[in-house]
């Protein structure tokens, strides 16, 4: 056997397809949706398509949980492209749960806008599969391909309401900004690739896209300027995705223009994907570059916390508000990421705190978006505080769910968001990030104004007399919708009081 053939043989042996069964399954369901559109009578499409998609997500979720602690965890698969870990398993579950909830929101919003179903769910399934791949990537090629799949999917989804000028404008903005961030990311990758392959430097490697090999190289050359610039560019590209300041400029407009389910998808899954990547990179190959990553991410965090909250103060459009408050949540999460690399010995569980925070954000934000989907009228981009006037009186259930969701996002005990913030704060304390901690505390206090301002609109203000808006809020929600919303609200309360296995898991980190 020649060395070339042996290398090919090794790669072939490491191609363990069952490890990617959930992602492949999602792809198959996505294709099946297209086939169903041809086969089914048109009347049934609207009801069947979402159900098939949701079944697909549930099946993928079940499969992922079945392989929760599979034997191949921690090993490189597919010639080093893929490496599944406990962390990537958590993120795969996260993305599946998030997409399930996005599908739920879509079943409420799409009929209101008379938008087609098939393409939406098709793209959603593909994007979810790509997100899941992203969380287990161990190689810049897979990282970039998966990330671009997600980004292209979002280009389509953001401008999905073709009749709405705001949606189209948001799509264009996202396209321009997304391309810029992809270009930054790619440029950074190329710099790293080039420098790590330089045979004059110690620890040079032919596999310089592989995270392990790249990390080994960077350990030998932590001060190499090109590597530092490359890493900074990669981090900036990711900062675009998570909407951290100074790369947040697209957030309010895109969040407002995008259809509500897509806004939820952007806010939760896209942001979470960025953090999954950040944790893989800064705790993996970039760990030797802490002299750059640490100050860079700290500045991102502090600016995001301040800008997100201050810019959200005068907002009255709730979708823009969710976008700007999302910027501040990115700030909190970045504090956790910084804590995880500032003193790795003191808080080994800081990444777990970030994951926990992401889950609490998922629950709180999805509860709020679920209510938004119900309250929204014909104009999906025009969702304002005034539309919430009298909500609690018209529908106590929506009011209660909104209160739980907002309270959790604001981080008020006994809701889950508080425990998320607590873990981040404690991690930051152990990592001695005094300044970031001070900024975070100010941010929490400032955020009370706009979060409770929203609650004030929903609970205190009387419904406006105009009949056409008042008719929008349904007094009776569907059974499935009520159950989903109530279980989201109860989950925020339960997770705030009882962390059970989550806490045990943090302790083992």
């Amino acid at each position: 056997m020649t060395p070339e053939i042996k290398a090919l043989h090794d790669i072939a042996v490491s191609n363990y397809w069952p490890a990617l069964a959930p992602e492949i399954g999602l792809g198959v369901v996505a294709l099946a949706l297209l086939a169903l559109e041809l086969l089914l009578p048109k009347r049934q499409l609207a009801t069947v398509i979402p159900r098939v998609a949701i079944l697909g997500f549930v099946a993928a979720l079940a499969w992922t949980l079945r392989d929760w602690s599979a034997v191949w965890l921690g090993h490189e698969l597919f010639g080093g492209l893929v490496r599944q870990t406990t962390d990537s398993q958590i993120m795969r579950v996260f993305f599946l749960v998030a997409s399930l909830l996005v599908s739920f929101i879509a079943t409420i919003v799409l009929p209101k806008q008379k938008a087609p179903r098939v393409e939406f769910f098709h793209v959603l399934l593909v994007a979810t599969g790509a997100l899941m791949l992203l969380a287990q990537s161990n190689h810049f090629v897979l990282l970039f391909v998966a990330l671009e799949t997600v980004t292209v999917a979002f280009y389509i989804l953001v401008s999905y309401f073709r009749a709405s000028p705001l949606s189209l404008e948001a799509g264009l903005k996202y396209l321009v900004m997304g391309s810029l961030s992809s270009a930054l990311l790619l440029f950074g990758i190329v710099l790293l690739y080039g420098i790590a392959g330089n045979p004059l430097l110690a620890g040079h490697t032919a596999q310089s896209m592989n995270f392990a090999a790249l990390g080994e190289f960077l350990r030998h050359n932590p001060d190499e300027p090109l590597a530092l610039v490359g890493a900074a560019l990669v981090l900036s590209g990711i900062a675009f995705k998570i909407g951290a300041v100074p790369f947040q400029i697209w957030v309010p407009d895109v969040y407002q223009g995008a259809p509500t389910p897509v806004t939820a998808f952007l806010a939760v899954s896209s942001k979470a994907a960025g953090f999954a990547l950040l944790l893989i990179l800064v705790r993996g190959p970039f760990l030797p570059l802490a002299q750059v990553t640490l100050p860079l991410l700290s500045i991102f965090a502090a600016l995001s916390l301040l800008f997100g909250n201050l810019a959200a103060l005068p907002q009255r459009n709730v979708k823009r508000l969710m976008g700007l408050s999302g910027v501040s949540h990115a700030g909190f999460l970045l504090v956790g990421v910084v804590a995880s690399i500032a003193r790795t010995d003191a808080v080994s569980w800081a990444p777990a705190a970030v994951y926990f925070y992401l889950f609490t954000y998922l629950l709180g934000a999805m509860a709020v978006f679920g209510v938004m989907a119900h309250v929204a009228g014909d104009a999906d981009a025009d969702q304002d505080f005034r539309h919430y006037a009298g909500l609690a009186r018209k529908s106590p259930l929506l009011g209660a769910v909104l209160a739980c969701g907002i309270g959790s996002l604001a981080g008020i005990p006994p809701l889950a968001g508080f425990i998320g913030k607590l873990l981040i704060f404690v991690a930051a304390f152990h990592a001695r990030l005094w300044i970031l901690l001070g900024v975070a505390i100010v941010a929490v206090v400032v955020s009370i104004y706009y979060y409770f301002g929203w609650m004030r609109a929903a609970f205190y203000e009387e419904a406006p007399p105009s009949p056409e808006r008042a008719a929008v809020v349904p007094l009776h929600l569907g059974v499935a919708a009520s159950l989903t919303l109530v279980s989201l609200a109860l989950a925020t309360v339960l997770l705030g009081v009882y962390q059970g296995p989550f806490g045990q898991w943090i302790a083992t980190r």
């Binding site: 008020i412 404690v426 004030r456 302790a507």
Partner: protein
């Protein structure tokens, strides 16, 4: 785990469970809802009285009786576990919270408020949180339970409040969050710096005793964080402006719970956590505490005198009196800390009683403006008697609980400085002036024309039993402690002079002898 520890858990769980049931109140008939709410308020009262009775004989671990631990998940990771128990400092406040909560619950049940189920539900959640605050040994849960009240307060004030309710609700929430975040930062810092790897107060005390004590500069910073964090929550001057506004706008039972019980959280935290754990830090801040507290007593006292609105006056009065509690803390002595706890209990009862009676007066004259009142004694002699008694109790006359609190604080303060004592005594004069003047304006003199016309339109008789029972409960508590303070001071004395809280005793050892004044009236 025995019956008494279960009872303690029950006292916290019962109101919360009641609140949870009422959350699904649409499916429950109104009468049953009221019954559930009543049980939710009654159970903590019965448990608190029972535990009070059995406290002396109960076996104690590290000074705490009725200890129980429940792990809710973060025990291994962060050392956070739901640890409930009572010591001599928390027992008096626990009992006070239960009694005031019961009275506030009775008032709420009779209030006939619109959307009563939601009202009761929020009030029950708030009450459950309050019982949890004083029953928690774990300082994380001490904080956690306090924050239970944040969203209910916001909704209760904003939905059922009076004048300026929305503004008051927003302002209260922002101030309370600011104070809470500062104190949370202080508590986390305490946890992170102590190396106890636990939020459990007993473990923290052990870890910080002797060689484990923190550096003086660190103690200075931590105590500052806690002082201002807790200070905002207790309406320490000049961070007080949310309190009179909020109490003025809030519905009666919320004012009773908030001003009477919830506000004691911060002072209690200083006495129970900050003083024993950070003795060196406390010494640095004594002058700050004293002067800010005197600001409460004198500046706010003068502001109180200038009030024309009865409810605002009671609200400002409650802010003013809080200054005495801080003075007790500032003495850094066993006597001062004990006086502060006694004072908190008395203040809780008397403020709650005043808010209750103020609402009753409003029902009869249709205004809070004291210039438009007068001569109410002819129509409502019992109300007049209650109100006068409540005012005298709040001034601190002998025979009422407040007397013992203020007396011990003044005695302790005398050891610190004669000047401060003299300045603090001015507060007695001020509160006597506005208190007695209010009694005179509301009840005596000739009825104003406005009053007469309102009275003929709304012929409400004297205090009815619905209002008289909660008022009697509160007044009886004030009298009981006024005549038998040992019921509270015996456990208090035992805890404060125990070697485990030696920080105070070593700080000012000479005061130990005077404790006997509190112990044996």
């Amino acid at each position: 785990m025995n019956d008494a520890t279960l009872l303690l858990q029950l006292a916290v769980a019962a109101p919360l469970a009641g609140g949870l049931i009422l959350a699904f109140g649409n499916f429950i008939p109104k009468r049953l809802c009221k019954l559930i709410a009543f049980v939710g308020f009654l159970v903590p009262l019965l448990v608190a009285l029972h535990l009070w009775w059995g406290y002396a004989a109960a076996p104690k671990t590290s000074g705490y009786a009725f200890l129980s631990v429940t792990d809710l998940g973060l025990s291994r990771a962060l050392g956070i576990a739901l640890k409930l128990g009572l010591n001599g400092i928390s027992l008096p406040l626990f009992v006070m919270a239960a009694i005031v909560g019961f009275a506030a619950g009775l008032v709420a049940l009779q209030s006939g408020a619109e959307r009563l189920k939601l009202y009761l539900m929020l009030l029950l959640v708030m009450h459950g949180g309050l019982m949890g605050v004083f029953a928690s040994v774990d300082i994380f849960f001490f904080y956690f339970f306090h924050e239970f009240a944040l969203i209910p307060t916001f909704l209760l004030v904003g939905l059922w409040g009076g004048r300026d309710r929305v503004y008051a609700a927003m302002k209260m929430t922002i101030y309370l969050t600011a104070g809470a975040m500062l104190s949370l930062a202080g508590l986390i810092a305490l946890y992170a710096k102590s190396n106890a790897a636990s939020f459990d107060l007993i473990n923290l005390r052990l870890a910080l005793a002797g060689d484990g004590a923190l550096l003086a500069s660190l103690q200075h910073n931590l105590f500052g964080l806690l002082l201002f964090g807790f200070g905002i929550l207790v309406s320490l001057w000049p961070f007080h402006s949310w309190a009179p506004l909020g109490y003025g706008a809030a519905p009666t039972s919320v004012s009773m719970l908030h001003a009477g019980v919830l506000k004691k959280f911060g002072l209690y935290g200083l006495v129970q956590i900050a003083l024993p754990l950070l003795p060196l830090g406390a010494q640095d801040w004594v002058l700050w505490i004293v002067w800010l507290a005197l600001g409460n007593i004198i500046v706010i006292g003068l502001v109180t005198m200038a009030q024309r609105d009865l409810k605002q006056m009671v609200g400002f009065g409650s802010v003013m009196h809080v200054g005495y509690g801080f003075l007790g803390v500032a003495c850094l002595s066993t006597l001062g800390a004990g006086g502060a706890v006694l004072f908190m209990v008395a203040h809780g009862f008397s403020v709650a009683l005043l808010f209750l009676l103020t609402a009753q007066i409003h029902q009869r004259v249709g205004t809070f403006d004291m210039a438009q009142m007068g001569g109410l004694v002819k129509r409502a002699p019992v109300l007049a008697a209650f109100f006068s008694a409540a005012m005298l109790a709040s001034i601190g006359l002998p025979g009422f609980a407040g007397f013992w609190g203020e007396l011990t604080i003044f005695l302790a303060l005398w050891q610190l400085s004669h000047l401060y004592t003299a300045l603090a005594m001015l507060g007695l004069v001020i509160s006597a002036v506005y208190g007695l003047r209010a009694v005179a304006k509301v009840f005596f003199g000739e009825p104003t024309p406005n009053h007469v016309s309102y009275a003929t339109a709304n012929p409400t008789a004297d205090l009815d039993w619905a209002a008289r029972i909660p008022a009697l409960v509160l007044l009886a508590a004030l009298f009981f402690i006024g005549f038998w303070p040992k019921a509270l001071t015996a456990p208090l004395n035992e805890t404060l002079t125990a070697p485990s809280s030696s920080a105070l005793a070593t700080a000012v050892p000479a005061v130990d002898a005077t404790v006997n004044i509190v112990a044996r009236p």
